[in-house]
Structures are given as structure tokens and as C-alpha cells.
């Protein structure tokens, strides 16, 4: 009797130890898929539920992003830039640092805004609740949201008053950190490194042309522009600059970049008044190489 008890306690302990060891190496199963459908999103007072978005995903998103959310929908082959692969959890438009997950509100904003110069339209015609549900559904494709938390959002101080000095200081930042290597001296997206840029999937990609374009992929406001270069656009050659551009310098850079853009603006007018010419003679780029 005692022996039996001893053996059974031994067995129990062994089972407990084995269970502990196996806990960390769980595999993706149907069960986990169901569990992931319990994913939620929280945007302000809105709560989105992945399970509630199954219908709208199948109706509006599946054609490009695919049933598995891997960006391999039936239309994907005709589309450039390619639809996002949600299973990686890597997104261009984030308010969080590079290499971290975006906030729910970042994904919500992207769905509502759409992505300029791509096939992703604005989904604002859907209700706010539908969009919040879709955010949760997008998240359910990547296991990263089970194990990781979104990154810290970068802090954006209030926008300063536009002055000619600030625009000039912004140009100095543009020269110092060498934005022109890709975006060109005039901001036309024709810098010496522009021609060889590729995204993380090794597909050719072009730097933004400030000279011709008004809207950015990740928003249209000055704060959006600030956020874009400070966080970087993950999955693209655009790195994060938050370690190397201070907040006040970042605002200067925003004002300078605005002065390069085609629309009428106070920045453009002030830059014209002080006769600001793009590029500094000392930092003239080399002619494009032949390869």
C-alpha cells in the first residue's frame, strides 16, 4: 500500500515536471486559432472583437490580404506595393519605436486613412465599430500579440511657431543626418542611394518625393510627418531617427520638409523670402553610379 502511494506520488511529480517543461513549446493548433479569435482591440472607448470581424474581413480584405492574413490574396500578384503580411506583425505606420508592435490606434488610423500611393483605400465608410473589430482581426494573425506588448509611443511636443530661422535650422538637420542620401538634395527622392533601395522582401522601393507629393503614407499632418521619421517605417529602408534627432530639431526638420512640398504654405513662403536654396555646396552628392 505504502509502495503504491509512493509510486503514484512519484508519477504525479513527474507529470507535473513534464507539463511545466512543455508549456513553453506550444504549437499553433485549431484550438489556438479559436483562442486567438478572442483577440480584442481598444481604441479610446471602442472595444473591437476579432470574432466579430470575420464577415467584414472576408468581404473587404481577403482579396488582397488573403485568408491566412499573409498578404497572398488572389489580387496580390497584380498589386505593387504588395499587401501587408499580418503574420509578421511588422507595420510601417506606428507611433511606437522601431522593432515593436504598433498601438491598436495606429492600426485603426491606417484602416481609416488608407495608404497613399498604394491599393489600400480608406475604409472610413465602415462603421467605427467595424474598423475596431478589423483591428482585432488583423492582430489575431500574428502570435506576437499573444507574447508581446506594443512598444512605447514616442512623445511629440507641441508644434512650435513657424519662423524662417526654424526652417533654416531644419535644412541643417537634413544635411547633418544626410536625409539627401535617399531623398535627394531638393527632396525629389533622387538621392545617390535611391536607385538601389529595396524593402525587407527585397522588392524595389522608392523614397518619398517631397517635391511632388502632398500626402504621406502614414498621415497628412505635421505631427504625422514628425512621427514618420522619428519611428521609421518598419519593413522599408526608412530607419528610425529618434536616437539621433532631438525633439526641437525634429520640428525644425518638419517645417523645412514642408517648405519643399508643392502646396502653398507659410513654410514655403518664408523659405522663398529668405532665399533658401536646397542643398549645401559642401555636401553635394556624387553622381549616380553605373552598375
Amino acid at each position: 500500500m505504502r509502495r503504491n502511494l509512493f509510486l503514484s506520488s512519484l508519477a504525479l511529480t513527474a507529470v507535473a515536471v513534464i507539463a511545466l517543461c512543455c508549456l513553453s513549446s506550444a504549437q499553433m493548433t485549431k484550438e489556438e486559432e479559436d483562442q486567438r479569435l478572442g483577440m480584442e482591440s481598444h481604441i479610446g472607448k471602442l472595444t473591437g472583437h476579432a470574432v466579430a470581424a470575420q464577415g467584414s474581413y472576408r468581404r473587404y480584405c481577403v482579396g488582397c490580404h488573403g485568408v491566412l492574413g499573409d498578404g497572398e490574396g488572389e489580387n496580390a500578384q497584380w498589386i505593387d506595393p504588395k499587401p501587408r503580411n499580418f503574420t509578421l506583425g511588422i507595420f510601417k505606420c506606428r507611433s511606437t519605436t522601431t522593432g515593436t508592435l504598433p498601438l491598436d490606434s495606429d492600426l485603426y488610423d491606417t484602416i481609416g486613412r488608407g495608404l497613399d500611393s498604394s491599393n489600400m483605400p480608406s475604409w472610413n465608410p465602415l462603421s467605427a465599430q467595424q474598423r475596431a473589430d478589423l483591428v482585432a482581426y488583423v492582430k489575431h494573425f500574428s502570435a506576437r500579440w499573444v507574447t508581446e506588448k506594443p512598444g512605447e509611443p514616442i512623445q511629440i511636443p507641441p508644434e512650435p511657431e513657424v519662423t524662417a530661422e526654424k526652417i533654416k535650422a531644419g535644412q541643417a538637420v537634413y544635411q547633418r543626418v544626410e536625409c539627401w542620401k535617399c531623398h535627394g538634395q531638393t527632396g525629389s527622392g533622387n538621392g545617390p542611394s535611391a536607385a538601389t533601395l529595396t524593402d525587407d522582401q527585397n522588392r524595389p522601393i522608392q523614397p518619398f518625393n517631397f517635391h511632388e507629393n502632398v500626402r504621406f503614407k502614414c498621415g497628412t499632418t505635421d505631427a504625422d510627418l514628425y512621427r514618420i521619421f522619428m519611428t521609421g517605417l518598419d519593413g522599408t529602408p526608412m530607419p528610425s531617427w529618434s536616437d539621433n534627432i532631438k525633439p526641437d530639431e525634429a520640428w525644425d526638420l518638419v517645417l523645412y520638409l514642408r517648405s519643399l512640398q508643392p502646396m502653398k504654405s507659410k513654410e514655403k513662403e518664408l523659405a522663398r523670402q529668405i532665399g533658401l536654396k536646397p542643398g549645401a555646396p559642401s555636401a553635394a552628392p556624387a553622381p549616380a553610379p553605373q552598375q
Binding site: 500500500m1 505504502r2 502511494l5 509512493f6 503514484s8 506520488s9 512519484l10 504525479l12 511529480t13 507535473a16 515536471v17 503574420t87 509578421l88 506583425g89 511588422i90 522601431t98 522593432g99 515593436t100 506576437r144 547633418r176 543626418v177 544626410e178 542620401k181 535617399c182 545617390p192 542611394s193 538601389t196 533601395l197 529595396t198 525587407d200 521609421g232 518598419d234 519593413g235 522599408t236 529602408p237 526608412m238 530607419p239 528610425s240 531617427w241 536616437d243 539621433n244 556624387a286 553622381p287 549616380a288 553610379p289 552598375q291
Partner: protein, 248 residues
């Protein structure tokens, strides 16, 4: 009867405690002083390494005025030794030995528009530094497999930028690193668990801090892939494993 239950309960409690103790002390083990040494050679002629056209960036051209830059995919010394091969123990380490993370921080420097070293090995969770010695802006863009656990990131390093200090959380052989601004710049982070070594310009290596035991050693090279060998390390007697990669 009740006494028997109590005895059984006591025994299982003691076992749980003993296992718990073993578990909690698993990272505290005496530093092992065994070694695995050897050389890695290339059988056949070393492939020609193309020169690099750096005309995109005059600064980079200037740094190589007197020493033309070449690709570093295969670097073979005069004695036929292959540089930049990473050697690590792929089988035979116990959890305790594998989970010891070295405290020194290896450095990956951007110098003369090249990566120095071209291949940087490190332990899981070992801190390492990315530095720049150049007067031109780089972006450092590692591309691990996000589905396997390490997450890609992309940071800028203009001239004078402070070092980036970070680590990788999962084993990955190997993570490509590139600079988008200078497309010829590419290298690798090799993330392993347990003791490791990288071959020098003679193709020699020494894996330090290996406890006595039998192991499988893996040699990884970016062009020639991996090879493995069984090695036995005894107290006071280092194991030896020489590898030969066949030129393509």
C-alpha cells in the same frame, strides 16, 4: 492509513522541493575550463571576391583610396584557412551550461563603409553594440525571421551617433544585416546558445569554457553552409575538430 498518506505526501513534497532547487540553481554552475580548438580550411581555389563600387558615396571611396574594398563573402588566408566561420555546440550541452550568458559585449562597427567584423557571433540575450567610426550616415537594418522570434528593426547612425546596445532573444543562424544607404554593406549576426567561437584570418578557432563531455560542434559559413563533428572534451584535455569546406 493516514500515516501512510502523510509519509507519501512528505516524500512528494521533498521531491518537488529538490527539483525546484535544481531548477533554481541551474544558472549557477562553476565556469568550465575545457576547450575545443581546430582550424577551418577550404578545399580548392578561393573564389574571386569582386571589388566594390562605392562611387555612390565619395566619403567611402576616399577611405579605400589605398586599399580597394572587396566583398567578404569568402575570406581565405594564405594558409587556406577560412575566416568568419562561426563554431558552436549544437548538441550535448546541459541546460545550465547553455543558459550562461557571457558578460562581455561584442562590437559590430561600421568602418570605412564596411562591417567590422563581417560576421558577429553572440549568445542568446548577450548584449552587443553597434557602433560607427564613419563620417557618413549609415542605417543598420538586421533582417531576422520575425516568425521565429527575433524581430527586425532599422535604426540610423549619422556621424558621431552613440552606439546602439541591444540583444537577440532567440537562436538564429544567421541574421542578415544590411545598410540600405550603402547597398554593398551586408554582414551577419549569428545567435547561438552556449559557448561559441569565430575563426580568425588563419581559420583557427578556440571555443572556451566547455565542460568535460561529448558534443556535436557545428561550423557555419555564409556561403558554404554548415558541417558538424562529434568532439569529446576531457578534464585538462581540449577537444579538437578541424573542418574542411569544399570550394564551389
Amino acid at each position: 492509513m493516514r500515516v501512510r498518506y502523510q509519509v507519501a505526501g512528505m516524500i512528494s513534497m521533498l521531491m518537488v522541493l529538490a527539483i525546484g532547487l535544481l531548477w533554481s540553481t541551474r544558472t549557477v554552475s562553476a565556469a568550465a575550463d575545457g576547450k575545443i580548438t581546430g582550424t577551418v580550411k577550404l578545399d580548392g581555389a578561393a573564389p574571386h571576391m569582386k571589388g566594390i563600387d562605392m562611387s555612390k558615396d565619395p566619403y567611402c571611396v576616399k577611405q579605400h583610396e589605398n586599399s580597394p574594398a572587396h566583398l567578404e563573402n569568402v575570406v581565405v588566408g594564405s594558409s587556406g584557412g577560412v575566416q568568419n566561420v562561426v563554431l558552436y555546440i549544437s548538441e550535448g550541452l546541459t541546460g545550465a551550461e547553455a543558459s550562461q550568458v557571457p558578460s562581455q559585449e561584442p562590437v559590430f562597427d561600421q568602418k570605412n563603409c564596411m562591417y567590422t567584423p563581417h560576421v558577429l557571433a553572440m549568445d542568446v540575450n548577450q548584449k552587443f553594440k553597434v557602433t560607427t567610426s564613419d563620417q557618413t550616415t549609415h542605417n543598420i537594418h538586421p533582417l531576422p525571421n520575425a516568425l521565429a522570434g527575433n524581430i527586425p528593426w532599422n535604426k540610423s547612425q549619422p556621424p558621431g551617433a552613440p552606439p546602439i546596445e541591444t540583444s537577440w532573444k532567440t537562436v538564429e543562424v544567421a541574421i542578415p544585416v544590411k545598410c540600405n544607404i550603402h547597398p554593398w554593406m551586408h554582414g551577419y549576426f549569428v545567435v547561438v546558445k552556449g559557448p561559441y567561437a569565430t575563426t580568425d584570418d588563419k581559420g583557427s578557432y578556440t571555443i572556451e569554457n566547455v565542460p568535460a563531455g561529448s558534443y556535436t560542434v557545428t561550423a557555419w559559413h555564409e556561403e558554404y553552409g554548415t558541417q558538424t563533428q562529434k568532439v569529446t572534451v576531457a578534464a585538462g584535455k581540449p577537444g579538437t575538430a578541424d573542418f574542411t569546406f569544399k570550394a564551389k
